[in-house]
């Protein structure tokens, strides 16, 4: 056994979590380096090496595994600075990417801007060719048109080419042939993204959008991962680099480079996977995972230990991503969210002061009051000893800004104004959480809350009260939780391939072929991981819906089905039952429509025994370090303050109280209690 390291690159910090061969857990943070994220990663590894008293080379050679969550793809989409991209597309469908099935994000604004183009119309080349829905060739591929088109794209400066032909997921021959021709005409092309490989299912808008995003970000991601691998090799690491995907699972670089789009939005996913593991150990199976950082608030519903996976209606950076993803929703609410008064109404966010200039109290030049400024004025955050003692907070600056921008316009004192900011942001986060739960039909009163991120521990109590949630879990390692999640994630392949037919018209051989293709591909992709068979689970599902529905349901398939008439009838009945359980009704008189097969393959990775280092004081009084005035209502209370790093298993604290951790504060309101459990979670009862 060697060292195992999870690295997650965030906007401000690169978080690292290292499990030593002895099972010790080390948390660390290094500043993120936006220009080249690998610099921050290597700096972080050097910090860890120092912590275990090894030279970097020695440490690297003793690394068993490095698991990585990267935001290179997200940053590329935020800044829209990906590769020059072109598209070859079935004639007559050149404009799907602009038509977007009619969808626009803002229905009241005729001047709402168009999304920035990945491939402008001139770089979308219509190609005469056509298959029907069964994959039969209606019109042969016009190879000469492909050649002309590729030459034109090269002339336009294109470096990355996407190909999307109708029904290519049924019969990929035309797309494959086009790829050959591209390489003949344009051998230096950086990357070819074939739609049937990136997203092997219909319909066409979803597929062309996903394929174009892949083409746009893949060159950067591939370059970055190669670069990082080279540096790790040079530093002496001989093992495998694994990369986090938005499915909540990891895969080797080769797989990820081919499906670059699967790394999009993988950042928040790491935290959810960490939360799921921590909650599982604490015996909590159904909960809301809530990550409140500096600029965003990420929420995910977890039921039966499994985060909800979304397979449809996934929009990121104004493009549709048709791959299964852990359903984490982000809203602009965080410590840096700016408070202001507009026509007598107090509003908080979504505009954020971010980490630069940051809240007023950071003293880095921020002048507009933020949620963190309210938190320090209300006494939740300490003036001194913030961020592991490296920072003090300017309370006076925060008070002045809040009085000027919020108190005076509303005609209230500074405490009332700060309470207003906190109440508005908490209500916003609670409302957002309710919306997410509503779309899954879940009731918050039946769930627990797991809060992490730099500000999760400060606000969790209030959000829980808004939602009527009574139990809150705050993991010790909360501020660097996504690095833990990255480290403990399993290998995951989650893919859907289309085959559309009414249930009674299904061709059994097509399903059998589809199944062996999917299973074969999973085996192939898992091979480099060197996992033994008993560590791999493969689940297959038939995707079904009623005619006219846009969204499929996954119906589990038994092993070795021959898809004969009886089995198909059984699957139909199962679909009706699932539909009734999930949606509350079914139509037994209506024939279900088969829309494809889905494979979910999971390769299990080892999990650490615990997630954080604990103190030894089981009597909280010995960890008490003082008293501070904090506000849980209009009147200030003298509230005891504890040093969280001293608290050991079993320590109990009654609210009101403040527990100071190196990177956050656990805020306990009156009439709440908290207990430190064996894994280092604060279990808060409200």
């Amino acid at each position: 056994m060697g060292y195992r390291v999870g690295v997650d690159v965030g906007g401000t910090f690169t978080d690292l979590l290292c499990v030593t061969p002895e099972g010790e857990v080390l948390l660390d943070k290094a500043p993120s380096t936006t220009e080249d994220q690998s610099v921050g990663v290597m700096n972080g590894l050097a910090q860890l090496a120092e912590r275990v008293d090894l030279p970097l080379e020695e440490f690297c050679s003793q690394l068993e595994i490095v698991v990585h969550g990267t935001t290179v793809g997200d940053n590329t989409m935020i800044e829209m600075n990906g590769a020059e991209t072109g598209l070859l597309v079935s004639k007559g469908h050149r404009d799907e990417i602009e038509l977007r099935r009619g969808f626009k994000e803002e229905i009241w604004d005729p001047a709402f801007p168009a999304p920035a183009a990945i491939a402008r119309r001139r770089a979308r080349i219509p190609i005469p060719e056509r298959l029907n829905y069964e994959g039969d060739v209606i019109e042969a591929l016009d190879e000469e048109a492909v050649r002309r088109g590729v030459r034109r794209l090269e002339k336009l400066g294109v470096r990355s080419i996407a190909v999307m032909f109708l029904f290519s997921f049924v019969n990929p021959e035309h797309e494959r042939r086009a790829a050959e021709i591209i390489l003949e005409e344009f051998p230096d092309v950086e990357r070819i993204s074939l739609s049937h490989e990136v997203m092997p299912r219909g319909p066409e808008y979803e597929r062309v959008s996903t394929t174009l995003v892949n083409a746009y970000i893949a060159p950067k991601i591939a370059k970055y991962i190669n670069h990082l691998q080279t540096q790790l090799r040079t530093a002496g690491y001989a093992g495998q680099l694994l990369v986090m995907q938005s499915t909540g699972g990891v895969m080797p670089p080769d797989y990820v480079s081919r499906r670059a789009v699967s790394t999009l939005a993988s950042g928040p996913t790491g935290g959810v996977m960490g939360a799921a593991l921590a909650a599982g150990r604490a015996g909590v199976s159904d909960f809301v995972a809530m990550d409140m950082g500096g600029t965003s608030f990420d929420v995910c519903l977890v039921r039966d230990d499994r985060p909800e996976i979304k397979t449809d209606w996934i929009w990121r950076y104004r493009y549709y991503i048709g791959l299964p993803m852990v359903d984490v929703q982000s809203v602009g609410a965080g410590g840096g969210s700016i408070a202001y008064v507009d026509q007598g109404t107090l509003l908080v966010g979504p505009e954020s002061a971010g980490s630069q200039p940051g809240p007023v109290c950071y003293g880095r030049g921020g002048t507009r009051p933020t949620v963190t400024d309210a938190d320090v004025v209300l006494g939740y955050l300490p003036a001194d000893g913030f961020a592991a003692g490296r920072m003090s907070l300017d309370i006076d600056g925060a008070r002045k800004a809040i009085a000027r921008d919020v108190g005076d316009p509303l005609g209230v004192d500074v405490i009332e104004a700060a309470r207003g900011i906190a109440r508005i942001v908490n209500a916003n986060m609670a409302n957002e959480t309710r919306r997410i739960l509503a779309s899954h039909g879940a009731d918050p009163a039946e769930l627990s809350l797991i809060a992490y991120g730099g500000n999760g521990a400060v606000h969790a109590w209030a959000i829980a009260q808004e939602l009527g949630i009574h139990r809150v879990l705050i993991p010790k390692g909360a501020p660097a939780f996504s690095a833990l999640g990255v480290l403990v994630a399993d290998y995951v392949i989650d893919q859907v391939r289309s085959y559309v037919a009414p249930l009674s018209h299904v061709n059994p051989q097509r399903l059998i072929d589809l199944r062996s293709a999917l299973v074969g591909e999973v085996r192939r992709e898992f091979e480099p991981a060197g996992l033994s068979d008993d560590l791999i689970d493969v689940d297959l599902y038939l995707q079904m819906c009623y005619q006219g529905q846009n969204f499929d349901m996954s119906i589990p398939l038994a092993d070795g089905s021959g898809f004969d008439e009886d089995e198909m009838a059984e699957l139909g009945e199962l679909f009706h039952q699932h539909h009734e359980a999930d949606r509350g009704f079914c139509f037994r008189e209506q024939e279900p429509l088969v829309r494809g097969m889905r494979v979910v393959a999971r390769g299990h990775t080892p999990k650490p025994d615990r997630f954080a280092e604990l103190g030894t004081e089981s009597d909280a009084e010995s960890a008490r370090i003082g008293t501070r005035t904090a506000y849980f209502g209009p009147e200030g209370l003298d509230v005891p303050v504890y040093d969280g790093s001293l608290l050991g298993v079993g320590a109990e604290i009654a609210g009101p109280a403040l527990v100071q951790e190196p990177f956050t504060v656990v805020v306990l309101p009156p009439e709440s209690t908290a207990r430190v459990d064996a894994d280092g979670n604060y279990v808060v009862e409200i």
């Binding site: 404009d95 001139r122 002339k155 846009n550």
Partner: protein
């Protein structure tokens, strides 16, 4: 039998006489109500049984107060969300004190405040301290509503009774107990097997809304909630009036026409005079067509909803949508004209036409005061191109509504070329795709690309309409009615019109059929196609003011041809598109634009 619709639409008094409220609490309550609307709408998406409701977002939730003022809405279809108040107000008057906790009501009748018969409004009162405080209301468009043809759009009758079942306001749940007699009656008057599922979903949604509102009332107390509703309706009204005060006072008029009704009666005229008076808006449709022989009429509720929706797109999108907004707009429609029909006229198809012409007319009138955003948020489709035949795979008849994505009628705004497929206000609908529909119906979708030069020229360019070519694989018949040929989508603020619609059946054969107004079951053979050249959107501003480099880009992207650049924009290009050597001839362009401007001046 009709209600006094204009009286129902009149502004209603606040709930309290100025009770003090903490603005933070008011904002928390407002956010909570919007979330409840969202939860109610999502409940329908999750539990409704027909695709119209669980897939394509044709539903909307709203919360009203005891006086029938709209406190919060979810984002759905604008016209639907804005037609929710009048039926509730009618019910409040009709039932008076005979509304009780646990009740749920249903209404759809256009002559009692509804939009048209397929739009069912289901609502539940919420009580606290022994009085009715709020109303949770959910509106859904149903795929059938009885009547003599399926689907709810019967353009062959000249009266409302032929269109379907009318419900002014009716109790469907009595103090928590479902009225099985009433629901059974609803079931037998509807063809859709999923209808009861949809109705129960809608009832469940209203009950969920009432339950969640009850929690808010319990937490904050009825008086605080009432004061909050007054507070945010009042502050919204102030925001609206502040914005409108920025417009010069005066009366601004427009006259627009619809090509014809489904029976071919031509030139349906809509007149509007919009008066801006110190922050208030009066929208007056006096002078609008009132020919008795017409078939298409827009109900008063529908006319009012289109009016408000269009104004909402012209004012800042940030102003909340509640009664403070709505009551600042007075809508005057003389009874008897096509926008407030004489009792008994059919109104189903009127949600399309003359409904959309309402938005078009208001936008054109307001060009005079708010040209930047005075963009019609409407469409110019008569009804969909319906293809019927027998599917050889199943031996069963099929009906294909040609609901696949296509571009049309999307007009530019100041600073923004039109983009996408349709206007912003329809952005919440999710259109069908080729790869799914070809699996379901025996056809091939051969083309739906933008048509070059079909977008209205302007400083900001209107969106091109689509070529929409569909080949049938079996013998079939086409049923449709087409508008927007004689009166295409107009340009705004000096921009050019979009190209007109044109539908050709048996396209490319030696026996083509160009639709004049109606195609009444026109046959096509297997292998034949129809081509719908959908109309373009209007341009915004003078095309001669468009940046020549933007015109060059449009030519490179083939939204505009080289000839079109010169003809429509006065931009002269040299070189070749094929070889990517196009360049602007600056001198020739300047000279041509100068000459055109002078020419424009002379013309007047």
């Amino acid at each position: 039998m009709r209600a006094d619709l204009e009286a129902l639409a009149k502004p209603r008094p606040p709930l309290t006489d100025g009770v003090e409220i903490d603005p933070v609490v008011a904002e928390v309550i407002r956010g909570g109500m919007e979330t409840i609307c969202f939860e109610m709408a999502v409940y329908v998406s999750r539990t409704a049984t027909t695709p119209l409701l669980n897939q394509s977002n044709e539903r909307n939730a709203s919360i009203l107060d005891a006086n029938g003022r709209c406190a919060a809405v979810s984002v759905g279809i604008p016209q639907l969300m804005l037609a929710s108040a009048l039926p509730v107000r009618f019910a409040i008057e009709h039932f008076g004190d005979d509304m009780h906790p646990g009740d749920v009501y249903l209404a759809n009748d256009p002559y009692h405040g509804g939009g048209h018969l397929p739009d069912y409004n289901v609502f539940a009162p919420v009580f606290a301290d022994g009085r009715r405080v709020l109303m949770a209301s959910i509106q859904c468009h149903h795929g059938d509503t009885g009547g003599s043809v399926p689907g709810g759009y019967n353009v062959s009758v000249n009266n409302i009774w032929g269109e379907g079942l009318r419900v002014p306001a009716m109790k469907v749940v009595d103090a928590g107990v479902e009225r099985t007699d009433v629901l059974e009656m609803m079931a037998v008057n509807n063809r859709q097997p999923g209808h009861m599922g949809d109705l129960r979903s809608q009832i469940g949604s209203a009950q969920l809304g009432a339950e969640r509102l009850g929690q808010i009332l319990e937490r904050f107390g009825a008086e605080t909630v009432e004061a909050a509703v007054d507070y945010f309706i009042d502050s919204t009204g102030r925001r609206f009036r502040d914005e409108v005060r920025g417009w010069p006072d005066g009366t601004y008029t427009a006259e627009v026409f619809g090509d014809h009704d489904p029976w071919g009666n031509p030139d349906i005229r809509i007149n509007v005079a919009v008066t801006v008076d110190d922050g208030r808006l009066v929208v007056d449709f006096t002078g609008t067509d009132d020919r008795d022989e017409l078939q298409a009429w827009s109900s008063y509720g529908n006319t009012r909803a289109y009016s408000i929706a269009q104004v909402a797109c012209i004012t800042s999108p940030k102003i909340p949508k509640n009664e403070g907004f709505f009551e600042s707009i007075e809508v005057i429609v003389p009874e008897g004209c096509v926008l407030n029909p004489p009792y008994g006229k059919p109104v189903s198809a009127g949600t399309h036409h003359p409904g959309t012409e309402v938005g078009e007319a208001i936008a054109l009138a307001l060009q005079a005061v708010a040209p930047e955003r005075a963009v019609p948020q409407v469409y110019k489709t008569g009804i969909p191109t319906i293809m019927t035949g027998e599917d050889p795979r199943t031996g069963l008849p099929f009906t294909d509504h040609s609901a696949e994505t296509h571009a049309g009628w999307c007009t530019a705004a100041a600073g923004m070329d039109a983009w996408g497929a349709q206007n912003a206000s329809f952005g919440n609908l999710w259109k069908a795709t080729t790869e799914i529909n070809e699996s379901l119906y025996p056809h091939l979708q051969l083309d739906r690309d933008y048509r070059i030069d079909s977008g209205g020229p302007g400083q900001w360019r209107g969106l091109c309409g689509a070529h929409y070519i569909k080949r049938t694989l079996v013998p079939c018949e086409i049923y449709t009615y087409v508008v927007g040929m004689k009166y295409p989508m107009p340009g705004v603020a000096g921009g050019g019109d979009g190209a007109p619609n044109k539908l050709t059946l048996r396209y490319g054969s030696d026996d083509p059929f160009v639709v004049q107004h109606t195609a009444d079951r026109v046959p096509m053979e297997a292998g034949q196609s129809f081509n719908f050249d959908y109309g373009g959107g209007g341009g915004w501003g003078d095309a001669l003011d468009r940046d020549p480099t933007a015109v060059l880009d449009d030519v490179l992207d083939e939204y505009v041809s080289v000839e079109g650049a010169e003809r429509d924009y006065g931009v002269v290009l040299t070189g070749s598109l094929e070889d990517l050597t196009l360049e602007i001839d600056e001198d020739a362009t300047a000279a041509l634009r100068e000459e055109r401007r002078n020419g424009q001046g002379e013309q007047g």
